[in-house]
Subunit: 368 residues, 4 copies
């Protein structure tokens, strides 16, 4: 076994068609900081019905969270958000002190954000590709499809391989995903910064904002991890998923007032809600999350956690019910309005950065 | 910090009402092995339209998977399935050699199956509780709600604590979630077996069927892990999430023909699909999953992985398109028909148990 | 303008491919009367969670409706149900005295049931056709697509034309849709009966079961109506939609205890729920619908009537809340279980046929 | 039988609580004409993914429709849109020549728009009322609930009764729903105009824009119709639903280029799509609808018409596929963006009003 990944997809035989598939150009990220009209639109929705009213209330709760200077704001990300053009919104939230920690699927952070920071792009797929009937042809071109978006698998393999190289340089001990994502940010910083205008991993690194990926092996970095394990055998670092839960719970203990802005559900939602219970289990009297917003299209009737209401979470002692709001919408429509509202209302201007990564700098597991 | 968890929920002050809330009795698990009529029903759906036809095709694909003796069958679980009464179906699949590995959310395995194996139950909630308006009262009674189902949080804390005790006894090294779930099974075996008729964790332990939980800290065992970490400091075991991905990929490499039966999406779906790519990345020419079925109500239009079609997965080189079928249904309606069909058609009778846990017994990471 | 429809679709130029598209054969209707195992399956779902429990309760409510001999059972149909293979279930309900009136979209009754009674069939479409990418080719073959099902447009035009011929023979006065559907049944009866094994229109005609289509012009018969109007000018019959509402309200007034089995939502759902209010508006103290079941996948969060809960209907005074149940499922999965349960439990065996069409035989509008 | 409706709901015994339920105030309608920032937001969504990109394309297609001066724009409405605060958007479309005909559920036109024109309002419901657990109390207060919105049933009865009075004055012949809605507009005009700032029925009346309600008896006016029938017996007017289909088809024949903006699905969607086929059936070579947009959350997998894709409609010869776009969103979020974009781009400024109601002024049925 060689020390590196096999970065050339075995099936990528037909590069001729590739250009044709990619001809519609790249995904461009929305910049809500230039759209002050969002405030008027959202305010107009306050006395409507259905999703409009819910969205207006969610935007108001986000603004309240930002004005509550005690409150630590945790953003959770699930679904293909960064590949969909929402990345700059998250970066602007980081830059403007509108978020204190991020809990995400690995894909949003590594396969999409770090991937773009390495200089790669996501591409607009033609409408007909959504049918799935051309996925064999895409496979031949080493193009991966996310519904209506394409990724160049050859570029993704370079992303995988880069994570392996970074992991190869780390201390030979268990690391939380927060530490591993931090290492990705450090890599960008030491290699000339991101090769794109905006990077979540890089901006969070510079501003000491922790990013947790509680299912970290389920992404591009998972390939890097496995390749590292295979090449190094027992003399290796590891991803310690239990440490993720330990660390984020410490944040809750140190900063009891918290608010959640959840995009999609999945593991990030549940994992973040659970830190209240975990703090209690460790003997701390942590209050429930004071604010909670979730944007989702998941249907509550399937009983899954992604769709479970924030009220339901209150039965578990996770989320308080005074300031909670679910918004039934696909994220690309709702998030620009909620985040744009929070930005242009300016409630964040009086916040002090929490620099939560610094909490862990001298921390020793077990010191609590 | 004491060595053990704080197992009494701080808020559980009102036990008087508890009995009233639990008066509708317990969730009972469906036994499809006694329902041969399912075959006729499913066969009758083959020439209908919409979900009925899709379900009949999915059931047929499952039967084909079982008849293909080369094929390793991997079951993925997301959503609250065991608390919903589907547990015995999974146990019967294990007992009858209808599944070779399981990839699941932690909740299904620890909070629900292992929890019942410790002698606890899930309860039927009254219809009005679905509204969320009584979640404050439930909280006062230390009752957790999953849509229309209740869990006694005091019992769940005992489950949390039991996992801590088990982790406290393990070797001080990184463990895959497979090893940790195996330890739960061993615990049951050494303590008189499960205190309920059917347990996935126990049956899988007895039959060498690996169970992976790729987001293992996101469940009851996560609390056990954190409590272990806090009490033991640096002299502790850890959950090594990267090892999960390494191990399951080894299964794909050793048994190239695979089929997936996916209930819900989430991390289990993506993680399991990715092992094809991981094998390739490690230099092995692993074929795509030959068979794939997914039961879900997730809407493809949100672009998330839970809802992404199996055709889309083929663009990533994960799933072959000849024998794939998605079924649009909540799992409690579709799974009894698919699994019951597979059982009563008897295709599994000619299968040899793969005992995949034995693959890892002498395995050293990096030996591949 | 000639007296008849232009029955040859203008675009149907390519009949060569037609056979190829139709090669997968015809939709076959499920016969639940031969599947007694359904009872055991549904009973097993009673103590599960989510849709399974809801479905079991819905089936129980249907059985209760049938055992309540005072109760008039009204079936409402929306969605492409008969083209999907559910037709025989409805016919068996008629034959076994399990339904007293039907309120439906026109398509289910005319384009699908009457169409098959004329000797035509629905066809199974290949999976790839669902993508929509071949709809241009289908158009060239005069094949109409309903998701995964095909209809021969040339045959559908004959259905349109047949309705025109029937309308041409009617009295020159306003007719309710009930009278018009009755005329279709009479036509079948006078022309040798249906050319298929089972016909809703025919069986309902023979058993005096009224069928209302409150948006009757929105179906194949709408073309027949317009062609009749165009060819006859002012000397013509008409479809009097107000008379529909008048007539069905009379049924509620004469038989105050009613139960609803609603498949899908749409106009049939709302129209039927409204008869309670209409009776009250006319000065009668009609009770709310005593039993109500709805099978639907519509999402309550869009605020539309199709998805509105049966509890919401109680605020309007339409549906009582003691025996109501919504089931979140696509109809082809849920209806066979609900109807099969009702059939095999045999509660209908003590019912006396209501022959509601006879209520109108001597009725004069305004006589109430 | 008296000549008028029983306008006092029998169950409305508890008016004391009514004020409490209505304390959150009234639904207010969004005014997108004052929000030019919508253009920038929608333009920024063009190169994103998922619903954002789809919405941007839909908005662009609407703009193209308006710039195509040959094109007759038909708006279809299903779902509770006017009660949700979208009414002013539709009125602004009428005032600014952005729509030529409307096909709607009766509820949007009569129960909601005409209702408000009579001086009544819709009310914001508290969040807890969505649970359905207070619907009995609402019933006691004669308050009707639409998800998160309340209507005063006593006011709605006045609306019902007003339609009866209007119908009592009409010529004793069959009327299309277009004629009946026109009569409602005329009533408003002759009685001092609407008692609210904006009325669809009134503005459409003043500008000769036809409004069709193809299931007209399924709304407040249905009660008026039945009361008229009961009080007048055979000497009465009637709603002739077949004439609706005849009339709207005449529009297609006279103005072959058409575009559809569909909000929700239901009967309005299907009915309007069908006019292409109806024109052909009558021997005219009408082109398919050239442009088509649909905003819906309905799931395509249930096979119902509401959710069927616009590509599927092309197999039926109804909708061309070059300029079609579905948007997966609840209407209150998507419509303001689409309509606001169309308004502020100003494509409508070069359109000439079509005054389609004038087509019917001298028309005699059968004259085609």
């Amino acid at each position: 076994m060689s020390d590196t990944l096999n970065v050339t997809p075995l099936k990528a035989s037909s590069t001729a068609k590739k250009g044709e598939f990619l001809r519609l150009g790249t995904i461009e990220h929305l910049d809500v900081t230039k759209m002050p009209g969002i405030v008027q639109l959202v305010d107009g929705m306050k006395n409507m019905a259905f999703s409009a009213r819910d969205l207006a209330r969610a935007a108001d709760i986000y603004d309240r969270m930002l004005r509550d200077t005690e409150c630590g704001v945790i953003l959770t990300l699930a679904g293909s958000l960064n590949s969909a053009g929402l990345k700059k919104i998250f970066v602007d939230m980081i830059r403007n002190n509108m978020v204190d920690a991020i809990v995400s699927t690995g894909a949003n952070i590594v396969d999409q954000d770090f991937f773009e920071a390495l200089g790669f792009k996501h591409y607009i797929a033609e409408d007909r590709l959504k049918s799935g009937l051309f996925d064999g042809e895409l496979r031949d071109c080493a193009l991966d499809r996310i519904y209506d978006t394409l990724i160049d698998e050859e570029e993704l393999r370079i992303c995988d391989e880069t994570t392996q190289k970074i992991f190869n340089e780390l201390e030979l001990r268990p690391h939380s995903s927060r530490e591993l994502v931090h290492a990705l940010g450090k890599y960008l910083d030491e290699n000339g910064g991101p090769k794109c205008a905006d990077s979540i991993v890089y901006e969070a690194y510079k501003r000491d904002i922790p990013i947790f990926c509680p299912a970290f092996s389920d992404c591009s970095a998972g390939f890097g991890l496995v390749a590292h394990y295979v090449s190094r055998g027992e003399t290796r670092m590891s991803w310690d998923g239990g440490k993720d839960f330990y660390e984020i719970t410490q944040l809750k203990i140190k900063n009891p007032t918290t608010g959640l802005l959840m995009i999609g559900g999945g593991v990030p939602k549940n994992f973040t809600q659970d830190i209240v219970v975990c703090a209690e289990v460790l003997g701390h009297d942590a209050p429930m999350h004071k604010y909670a917003i979730q944007v989702t299209v998941a249907d509550v009737r399937d009983g899954a956690l992604s769709s479970s209401t924030l009220k339901e979470a209150s039965s578990w002692g996770k989320v308080d019910v005074v300031w909670e709001q679910m918004v039934f919408s696909e994220a690309t429509l709702a998030l620009p309005l909620i985040a744009g509202y929070g930005y242009h209302k300016g409630g964040w201007k009086n916040r002090t950065a929490k620099h939560w990564n610094k909490v862990f700098e001298d921390a020793t597991v077990g010191a609590a």
